[in-house]
Symmetry: C2
């Protein structure tokens, strides 16, 4: 555990290394204009306007210059100067001047080390010699002040740690994360693509990605029916008026697509699946005896996100939620929430996620309904969490506009957090849409709605699974579970025979009958992260067996076909 | 078989009955203004502007007056008059005057019988007494000339036949069709709904409808994978530019929704699934050896249809196509078409359709590509049909803009035709999108695309199945396959036990444990068209059996539980 003090010291060091990098750039690129250079997670960056575009080859040169500066061990000197003095000091630095003019204080703080002076509140190290292990990692373009109408500067990113060991550990973790990046693996394993012609953030699921999705969706459907959910399908568009009645237009507008017109009437792509479910509920009178009703839908929704924040499958403009809405009586809410949480835990375990964090998000600034409704709903969520003795943290003000919620963040194998399941209690939409049931007393009562998704979104889930498993999906999810590799042409028939038998028992198997060398085929199957490779030649044909290899490279030797088949089926059924 | 001559005579009679109805209306509603009165399938209609709205009670009164006119047996007299004479004759008939002014001929033909004269080319019966069996069926509003900006007239519909027997047979067929109407059964069986709040033509699938859809979709997926298809998912929207490149914007505009805007870029809801599949194909280099590639998607598309033509599930604005696109070499086209036709025949047989008609649609007026491309594609389709010795008719000019097609029209149990499977060869989109493969010669060749759907649309299919089976779906498709009805409270435990055991073997079963009378429960299960009812009391509990009833009302008596279970499973597996 990092202590508060150690953390502060590290922040200070990273910020000082940013200044040292700026000094190095100033000396290597005379005439450089400086933007800002804050610390970020694990390190820092600094933005520059330079006479030429930087290449990765520039980074070691800048690093060398930084090491020179550190060896000279100049002190960081704090000074307070007047605005006029600052304007003179930064007279050839237009970005700094802009900042100077925006600081309301009478005197401004600057820090100087060696030949470099920066407008900066500090704090800093005593001297450059105190800088420890660092590395410049990459260069990217960044608009001045994040505004695409302002000039594009060059941003150099770096990381810094107290020791070389910590730096190296971080870099190797980063390298592993890059190897597992779902955007990279998604391409290599042929799982999905995004096309500029269709539009950013809109996903095409390729056959192999679609196999994984279909397996999870089938599993999801069976599990939901088993737990008393009904599955429905509702349209992706609806009249704009419906979204006005619901409050989405008012509270959620920044994420909505512009309306389209049909016969003079405005329609909108749905950002959520709830309204169709409400209308199905309302298509009949419902008695207190018929509740709870649980409508589930693998529903694709469309939400606007700025191009800049889109990220592979993890942040997109169209995604399929494993959505459901539970309509129940107030006395059933807590029990339903416990049921949903149990389903969440079951699903996460089935998918192989052992670590997660639970957050309870409370009332945001913009909200619908009354404070008392929010209070009641929040208490219900808390009691359900406590009944399952699930530890949780409160995320104040992070609820959606219509109710408080529980968010579960999954942790993948590298410790990254992913937004996963969400459970929201809603006392609001039932009022807006007059969602009622006939009580035991014969009169109308307003129902409670629970919105929930136990996987989050199919797109983000695939991203998360890909990175969690580094593309080596568990057997039950592997698009191809086994590749059969005949050693010579005369073994192709035997390979096809095995494939036919395995397929008839639901195993996803391919025969690699290309006229390529066996070692190349094995290597390609390993790159494709296929769990099992069955190599078959004369010996195997003669003994109704196969030489079995795993994607790890492990060679299990000769194994009877029945045993191989059983091994694969057991692994798939165990979802291991 | 109705002969040509008999048909002409019947047409003449129906047209004359329309005139007789107009004469009756003239005499019952003085001051009536007359629109037009053509024959239609089975009968005729006539449009009137009347001083008050008609009710169903008016029809027998008009029929009585018609019978009086027929009894008087006035002759139909043809006359030719000048335009001026016609203008005088119809001076108080504004709609007739409008028609008079539009006829280019110098002299106009009128027909007179009794007190009624109509602008009409004939031919007619010799006299009113030759009219045979007729019946007025209903009244509906109809805009003059179908133009919603013109006045709304009242249209009286009638049917007429040569004999009372034929009339009665027709009426009873109509009554049966009304009983089977999927809009009526859809509501009674709780299969789907359409909501004004969401918008016309946009379908909400209720749990029971969704069960049917899911079963068919699962079946479809298994069957497609077995036949070498890959399943994909692609977005419901794409940049408008993509639809311009494809030609859809140019050729298909009347059916497209208005664009929406995202970050200054226009996007459109997809009317077809093809473009996503093309981009997946193009995401890698494809070799001649890797073809054919068959991408299938249960893809929801949105197409504009006028409100007036929307009809339940049969004609909608958003529907899910069981779509696929086959990318292949020219030498593979015919084989692929044969494969698709075999799949079509298999699917239709599985769903219980025995009758169908096959149409080959050729080049329309608006078309993309060259006439030679169309010629080649059309020949390929013909050869495939001939290889399967499928009889077909040519539908000239009914191809889609990008290629010729085969349409299969299903005939339901009542002889109604439904648009079903479609197979289109496309030599055009591959050129527009440069869809290539690397040939054996190492150079680029343009691939051929086949668009096909073997079910048509999930929405229309449910409509068709509902009417075909009159809501009594075969066991494998029944949302609820069995209802268990305990005779008294003490039998509920036994009923639940059976339900649990049946469910664990995949049978969809409910226990009706309401405190209602047994006969009511049986009647309701029959109305819900549940295939099997298991009634359980003391006798059944004592012998591990159930009293089995079918939805037909047939009582099969006591049957052991294992036999009941087996009976249901065998029926479901046989898809019978």
């Amino acid at each position: 555990m990092m202590t508060e003090a150690k953390n502060e010291q590290l922040e200070r060091m990273r910020h000082s290394v940013a200044h040292i990098m700026a000094e190095a750039v100033q000396s290597l690129f005379p005439g450089a204009k400086f933007g800002i250079g804050p610390t970020i997670e694990h390190g820092f960056y600094y933005d520059f306007e330079l006479s030429r575009a930087l290449t990765p080859d520039d980074l070691p040169v800048i690093e060398d210059k930084m090491r020179e500066i550190i060896a000279q061990d100049a002190s960081f000197v704090r000074d307070e100067i007047s605005r006029d003095e600052a304007r003179t000091l930064f007279s050839d630095q237009p970005y700094k001047l802009e900042l100077v003019d925006e600081i309301p204080d009478a005197s401004l703080v600057v820090y100087k080390q060696g030949s470099f002076t920066d407008l900066c509140r500090g704090p800093h190290l005593a001297s450059a010699g105190e800088a420890r292990a660092f590395k410049l990692t990459h260069v990217a373009g960044a608009y001045w002040r994040g505004d695409e109408k302002r000039p594009m500067l060059q941003r150099i990113y770096g990381v810094a740690f107290e020791s070389q060991e910590e730096l190296e550990e971080h870099l190797s973790r980063q390298a592993e994360a890059a190897r597992r990046d779902h955007r990279k693996l998604g391409k290599e394993l042929d799982l999905f693509s995004v096309h500029e012609e269709i539009g950013p953030g809109l996903i095409c699921w390729h056959p192999k990605g679609a196999v994984i999705r279909e397996i999870i969706e089938d599993f999801w459907r069976v599990e939901h029916r088993r737990r008393g959910y009904d599955i429905v399908y509702t349209p992706h568009i609806a009249k704009l008026d419906l979204w006005k009645t619901s409050g989405h237009w008012e509270f959620y507008r920044d994420y909505l697509y512009s309306p389209m017109e049909i016969e003079g009437q405005e329609y909108m792509l749905r950002p959520m699946n709830c309204l169709g479910h409400i209308l199905i509920y309302k298509s009949r009178l419902r008695s207190y005896r018929s509740l709870p009703l649980r409508y589930a839908e693998l529903g694709t929704v469309y939400r606007y996100e700025r191009t800049g924040v889109l990220y592979g499958l993890a942040r997109v403009r169209g995604f399929t939620q494993d959505d459901a809405h539970i309509f129940c009586r107030p006395d059933q809410v807590e029990g339903e929430l416990v049921g949903v949480l149990n389903l969440v835990l079951f699903m996460m375990a089935s998918l192989g996620f052992k670590e997660y964090k639970v957050f309870l998000s409370t009332r945001p600034d913009k909200y619908a309904g009354t404070a008392q409704m929010w209070e009641e709903a929040t208490e219900c969520l808390k009691r359900a969490l406590e009944r399952l003795t699930l530890p949780y943290a409160v995320d104040p003000g992070e609820g959606v506009f219509y109710g408080p919620k529980i968010d579960v963040k999954l942790e993948d194998a590298l410790g990254h957090e992913w937004q996963g399941p969400t459970i929201q209690v809603d006392f609001n939409l039932p009022q807006r849409f007059d969602v009622c049931y006939i009580g035991e007393d014969g009169s109308d009562h307003t129902a409670v709605m629970i919105h929930r998704t136990v996987l989050g979104a199919m797109e983000r889930l695939l991203a998360c699974l890909t990175e969690h498993y580094g593309g080596a999906f568990p057997v039950w999810l592997s698009p191809v579970q086994a590749v059969i590799i005949p050693i010579a042409d005369r073994h192709v028939g035997y390979a096809q025979e095995i494939a036919g038998e395995f397929r008839s028992e639901g195993i996803r198997v391919l025969v690699d009958d290309r006229s390529e060398r066996m070692n190349l085929k094995i290597r390609e199957a390993q790159l494709d992260k296929v769990p099992y490779m069955l190599i078959v030649g004369d010996k195997e044909m003669g003994s109704a067996s196969a030489s079995l290899r795993l994607r790890s490279g492990e060679d299990l030797g000769l194994e009877g076909l029945a045993d191989v088949k059983n091994r694969i089926k057991v692994a798939a059924e165990a979802r291991a």
